[in-house]
Symmetry: C2
Subunit: 609 residues, 2 copies
């Protein structure tokens, strides 16, 4: 049997599995599996090299199924490769099974959750960049749908691959010309895709996506390309089953039992091929793992310092002892102070330009290979990558994000530049830590905590310089809080974080002069929140709480505290309740009701008359 | 004086204004104003036609400053055109002034807030499409920065313009080769931009961006193009002032007083030109305003119906009486049921394919021209357009969004397809309404309320069919709630919305059988929340509240209720507290703790032992 014949048989096996699995599950996307079956057979059983026993072998070629709805054929390929039992395929989409409707890293071979289209290429850029950083000879393959090429995120990633000259990256577009609701934008106009990819600096290789020999040649060409390469595979959705081939209306629809019978009759018997013997083992010298230490030397701060400056400084110090730290910028490194790291470690720094989606997508790929990516931009602009951040959470990714320039305290640039909804973006993401330090020493401690924590973490930094409140080396545990002012007769708690901590301290002084003692708590760990501590303080302070934050009302510190203290406290929530204007920071803190004056009034309003 | 000489003088006036304004304000981006001064002079004082007296004249050519940080020169152009007083320019960035650091529609000539880069082109597509829909002969101009061309959103919009054959759209890229922190990706490689735009179906016109005669010819070519046209203007950042020309490190930096003096000495005296006389008046027949009615005929529902189906049905009914309604889809119209509108009103429907950012950006443009755009996709995928949604809010846009397939109740497709953070996305946006109907009649009423409300509004719809709870024609006021079960001796309130309303009703029945009466409230208006009603019910029901929602813990209904009831109730918050898996809807509601069984247990836990 020739190689081509063997792979054709494997493709048929993958088709049969995909149809059976989805019919059994009663839902799923069989036709999109059928269009890519020949590509999948060539990739998993000829082109890619990997160690079947270890999904984390650094020499493995990596694979991203960007069109995540084709999950059944991915599971089928793993089963054929002997990675998961063939019987498990019939558990597709069951609650107890890791064979989910769209891939997540609950299956350890899956390096990033997919299913939100257009994200896989950026993840692939991150994986391929990680392979290069670790001097691995391995390659990365990304299988995309044609429909998802309408997503702008694809073109951000295409730029990044070109900038990084990732010749170890190969994308395949499964051009089956049918989307979910209609024909795709370019239908079978393969040349239209080629023009776009070429304009973005790629080698484009058109091919009949159902011809195994042509596909193998295309992969060969891609391997030899001096640019990132994309294989444009012209295919038929539903290929192999006449009554569903190339028809609209069959996107997310399994065959009924009787339809399955007809389909299987058409495809013929399951051919006898042992996929386990076909898998190509990885080769080369196993790269050394980078040294990872987190106990970096803290800076001696003497004067007022912006937390964003301390963030950059901490990255620099961390980078000196931790080879796994990688930094990506979105053309604001001189504002977030990521530039400190860029200057010291250019080989572990990447300028992603103004392309936040790519920055986060690449980060997911890097983190999946054991790197610790730190990404920063203005908090306002992380909203551009909300979907990627969400998918990073769903991927249990070890990604670290920094949003700088939060709140009205940035001043004159106006609302488009103010991060006023970032806490509401990050707090819902499962498992995501959220820090909001008030001074430089706190910021450095938070960076250390983020780095050593395994999982998604976010830090919010402030534009203006703020006074020092804490000693160098002070501990800021995850889920903790700091009591900055307390007395035995405190009559209210003021909960603040970041810039408003200083307003709370001013209010405390003024209130004290007026004979009213209040406790001031710095809730630097917004998530997890120190609910136990806050309940304790609330009980000690007459059940009166003022929360003050430089954020819109919903989803931030105020609601977090309200949730934690439900039933045991009266709460006044000071926050930005309308769209702010340009102005000076102090003017804005006053105009939008979050400065010392408003805090004092809020406390006074809570006290019994 | 020739036309060219006059425009050169105007460009110099704009340069002088921009420098003075930013030095006076003490912040801002003068160098990016200087690179585009010649383009701005040509645009505002020769190429564009508009009625200086009316920013909403439908015959006006429209302008979007996508590179919003160049706001000073936009304000300067308005002043030169006699639209705002020249003296007002020195109020740039003051709290009381509408001359903000980045443009917002507080200045009525600004049709969309900009400053989050890469968004202007999609807004321009929406404006140009609106002009065509209203049969206006007017054109739309979008001025972009070169750095923002790295944003994927630009390429989504480029596709849309080509699909719509918008020959009335002209983009200009100010290629000054310097970003904020560094050189841009393509520096002065104008051909690289040309290749990309051509591959996306545009006419690309390279030009020296400081030569007025060449610019006027380029605009002429653009007007004659049979495709959307982009003028690629090669420019120098800081042009006209030798010591800041083409230098890194001058991005967001005003000149100091002495530097300003040198710069003005170099530029020479303010030339004498009266811009008011140069503005070209708009021409043509004023198009008729579309008929806008909102009281559409409600559907007679008899059986279980999915709220997403009712959403589509309501759009169809609304479209019949309201000519301003326009619908955009992201290749899921057969799932959101927007397809009902597409079939009936193809001329007011647009397939944006899988490009959510473009969908929202276009919507902002359409809404700015008096249309009422309804956009729908899976709620999960609206996260892709969070930044655009945010900017829609900051634009006070009359945009209507629908997120379908929310929560674990979608079942087997898995977490990437479940909208579990959409409430946290929409609730913080200032002025945004958030509806979450439980049955088909409620869904239709919510669509009516959204359409007639002037402002941003969001509706969350459910995948599975749900039983009918309400009568046809029942009123669902903004900020209201519905009491579905109540008795004189209710011992707790269960607050639910959407799918969990039915679980609450089941729990109520079971509890009643066990001798415990509870009140069931349908909080269909998640924002504004019926805080007064909820406080009343809480007081009547012993201060015990269970909130149950198909959403992650942060930023949703639970925290909204906790905020509203702080101090007066004990609250148990049932919600999805971990990353869900694939499974059957009922299994998932149980596994993640939000079905009747869990509600009953929560109520029992709150009761005194």
């Amino acid at each position: 049997m020739t190689k081509v014949q063997t792979l054709e048989k494997m493709a048929k096996r993958l088709r049969i599995h995909s149809l059976r699995m989805t019919t059994r599950a009663g839902s799923g996307h069989p036709t999109t599996c059928l269009s890519m079956a020949d590509v999948a057979a060539c990739l998993f059983f000829q082109e890619m090299k990997f160690n079947r026993a270890d999904p984390n072998d650094p020499l493995n070629d990596e694979f991203v199924l960007s069109k995540g709805h084709a999950a059944p054929i991915l599971w089928a390929a793993y089963a054929e490769a002997g990675i998961i039992p063939q019987e498990s395929l019939l558990d597709l989409r069951k609650l107890a099974s890791n064979l989910e409707g769209h891939p997540t890293p609950r299956m350890p071979w899956v390096k990033a959750a997919t299913g939100s289209l257009g994200q896989g290429l950026a993840v692939g850029v991150g994986l391929a960049y990680a392979q290069r950083l670790s001097r691995s000879p391995a390659r990365t393959y990304v299988l995309m749908g044609d429909g998802e090429c309408a997503e702008g995120a694809v073109w951000e990633a295409a730029n990044a691959a070109t900038l990084l000259k990732l010749t170890n990256l190969c994308a395949v577009v499964d051009i089956n010309r049918l989307g979910q609701s209609d024909f795709t934008m370019h239908r079978h106009d393969v040349a239209a895709y080629a023009r776009k990819f070429k304009a973005f600096g790629w080698t484009a290789i058109p091919v009949d996506g159902h011809k195994v020999d042509a596909l193998l040649r295309a992969f060969e060409l891609a391997r030899r390309s001096s640019r990132p390469a994309v294989i444009l595979a012209k295919t038929i959705k539903g290929k192999g089953v006449s009554f569903i081939e190339d028809r609209n209306g069959w996107h997310g629809k399994p065959l009924k039992e009787d339809e399955l019978k007809s389909a299987l009759a058409e495809l013929g018997d399951m051919p006898a091929v042992d996929g386990r013997r076909l898998v190509k083992p990885r080769s080369g010298k196993r790269p050394a793992a980078p040294v990872k230490r987190f106990d970096f030397v803290r800076t001696d701060y003497k004067d007022k310092t912006a937390t964003r400056w301390a963030y950059g400084q901490a990255l620099l110090s961390l980078g000196r002892i931790n080879q796994a730290v990688v930094v990506i910028d979105g053309d604001v490194k001189n504002s977030t102070y990521a530039e400190k790291f860029f200057e010291a470690f250019p080989e572990r720094s990447f300028q992603s330009y103004i392309a936040e989606q790519n920055m986060v997508g690449m980060g997911i790929g890097l983190a999946a290979k054991g790197y610790i990516p730190f990404l920063a931009t203005f908090a306002a602009f992380l909203t551009r990558a909300h979907d990627q951040v969400r998918m990073a959470g769903y991927s249990f990714s070890n990604l670290k994000l920094c949003g700088s320039h939060v709140g009205v305290s940035i001043g004159e640039d106006g609302p488009s530049q103010m991060g006023l909804e970032d806490l509401a973006l990050f707090r819902p993401i499962p498992g995501c830590l959220v820090f909001y330090p008030s001074d430089a020493n706190a910021a450095e401690a938070c960076v250390e905590a983020m780095a050593s924590h395994k999982g998604l973490a976010y830090i919010r930094t402030t534009r203006p310089a703020t006074p020092l409140l804490y000693e160098k080396g002070e501990a800021f545990p995850i889920g903790g809080s700091k009591v900055l002012r307390a007395s035995a007769d405190d009559r209210a708690v003021v909960v603040a974080a970041g810039i408003t901590v200083f307003e709370a301290l001013k209010a405390q002084e003024e209130l004290k002069k007026a004979g009213v003692n209040v406790r001031v708590v710095d809730a630097y760990s917004v998530q997890p929140l120190d609910a136990v501590g806050l309940r304790h303080h609330t009980a000690e302070c007459g059940g009166r709480v003022v929360v003050v934050e430089d954020h819109f009302p919903a989803g931030g510190l105020g609601e977090a505290v309200a949730g934690a203290l439900a039933g045991i406290s009266r709460i006044v929530h000071l926050c930005v309740r309308e769209l702010p204007r340009s102005g000076k920071p102090d003017e804005l803190l006053d105009a939008y009701g979050i400065n010392a004056r408003h805090i004092r009034q809020a406390v006074e309003g809570l006290l019994p008359k």
